[in-house]
Symmetry: C2
Subunit: 317 residues, 2 copies
Amino acid sequence: MANIHEIARRAGVSVSTVSRVLNQHPYVSDEKRAAVQRAIDELDYTPNRNAVDLIRGRTRNIGVIIPYNNNPAFDRMLSGVLNRSVEEDYTVTVLPTRYDPGKEIEYLTMLKNKLLDGMIITSRANDWPSIIPFTGYGHIVACEYTEFEEIGCAYIDRYAATLEVFRFLKNNGHADVAFTTARGDASISTRLTMQAYRDVFGEIPPGRCIEGCTTMVDGIEAACQIVEGKERPTAVYANGDEVAAGIHQYVLSAGLRIPDDIVIVGQENQPIGQVLQLTTVDHQLFRVGEEAFGLVTREPRGKVRIPYRIIYRSSSG
Amino acid sequence: MANIHEIARRAGVSVSTVSRVLNQHPYVSDEKRAAVQRAIDELDYTPNRNAVDLIRGRTRNIGVIIPYNNNPAFDRMLSGVLNRSVEEDYTVTVLPTRYDPGKEIEYLTMLKNKLLDGMIITSRANDWPSIIPFTGYGHIVACEYTEFEEIGCAYIDRYAATLEVFRFLKNNGHADVAFTTARGDASISTRLTMQAYRDVFGEIPPGRCIEGCTTMVDGIEAACQIVEGKERPTAVYANGDEVAAGIHQYVLSAGLRIPDDIVIVGQENQPIGQVLQLTTVDHQLFRVGEEAFGLVTREPRGKVRIPYRIIYRSSSG
DNA sequence: ATGAAAGCGCTAACAT
DNA sequence: ATGTTAGCGCTTTCAT
């Protein structure tokens, strides 16, 4: 590829003039501008953006840390980020950690590397003290709430949403309720869900919190566990509509009725939940992603809460 | 951030020695190596990868062009790409075009810009002659078959799959079959589907090809159109399980039975199809993505066909 | 084994 | 308005 010197030589001007044309600066005569443009066209020249980024210290590239890349929740957030990025001429690099803390640090180092202008963390493997230092190299926005003022937040109020669901169930006469989670109690999501449970129902009885659920198959297994236990709960709050769909399927195949024998509430308002008429908590994760993008590019320290909404359908009576 | 000169000064060596340590070259004495390492640790130094990439001319970053970022099919391919990229220490930048040809060219230009080592095109907005020139700046792999030898291909045999589905339907006594597609006949997918239809059933009767379907809601609308027409087809081949789910829902709500009144066949083998017991064509798009990644990094001109499999469930009798 | 120096391709301050 | 030049931070000959 030709470089800026070749263009300059061919157009009979200096490299600065070429640079000025490239960056639409004023103070370039029409003739020279035309000559430069001609040279650019003839040589089919495009500036090397590595060089530009090196000197400018910015890249207009944002990183998005996600644990997994085929999970409805994270895909939804990513989608929101991408949506905005296209409109604002940013580029997005997707960084899957599989919850490997080392990998996550590696990705955060890309800020220090000058490869990324900012980072959106949809879910993290490291604790905040390990992450905070990287805010010195670029904006970091998390999709969860944290007090740390260095971190921007586009977050959902999982505790409030869960509280509302559990209260709704309790008010409808459910005393024995189970719930599923993706990760163990190391994750904030799980901890908030557990807290809401305790605040409504008291201590969590054994077998009522089922961890490790992300897919429909996980839901089927969870339901098996729930249904075949000696005392059967009358309601299940699933951590996603796909998991809920798995539960739905097993429950029906076991000859039980929904909602009469078991009430099911899902999350994320996915198409599958619409088909099965699942009551679901829509956390509006697409908006979380959009908001996260806005924060990382404009208002790095902002804290924005995205409201949830509960969509009542027949799976909850 | 400190730079390589500071490290060199602090360690009492030259920048070349620092560079050697950084790149694990041999021929550096243990003492100097240790001194450099100490300086690196003390200053918490990380090389600027823009500078490294500029001089090396490579980035270990791959671009993935997708039309939309919340589509099951493209998400699946992306997932396959990401999966491999993590294992091979590459990074992936997601580039949504919304089928805007200008945007797509902008993205392809990133190859020329030296921002990307290679590009995977899951679906394109431009014709090949507009794309081919960019192969001069990096490997390009498409997720569709093309004769152009400059382009690597990780592709599915949509024609064969569709032919098998239509033949299966015909053999089961279906003479009036409808199908849905995402885009009009500008897309290869649609054209191949139409061709297979013609090869089995002859000319496509009016109202039997329904375009513009991607979501469940689109499926519902398509089904409405299909069911309410004067002559009702006895089978529908949907261009995705979500669309199929929408059709499924409308058909049932219209008081018709599946498969007795209408047979439904979907595509992509998604969870929603599992729940609804939809017969589906699994194109194994995850593998397409994995294969595309392998081609773009290793064997840029390879042509790899990923086999499909049809999963028969109760929606087809 | 180590260092000096010449770039990689570009921007921007400075001079004219 | 235009050109000269000093970097941006790094790698890599080429000497020694």
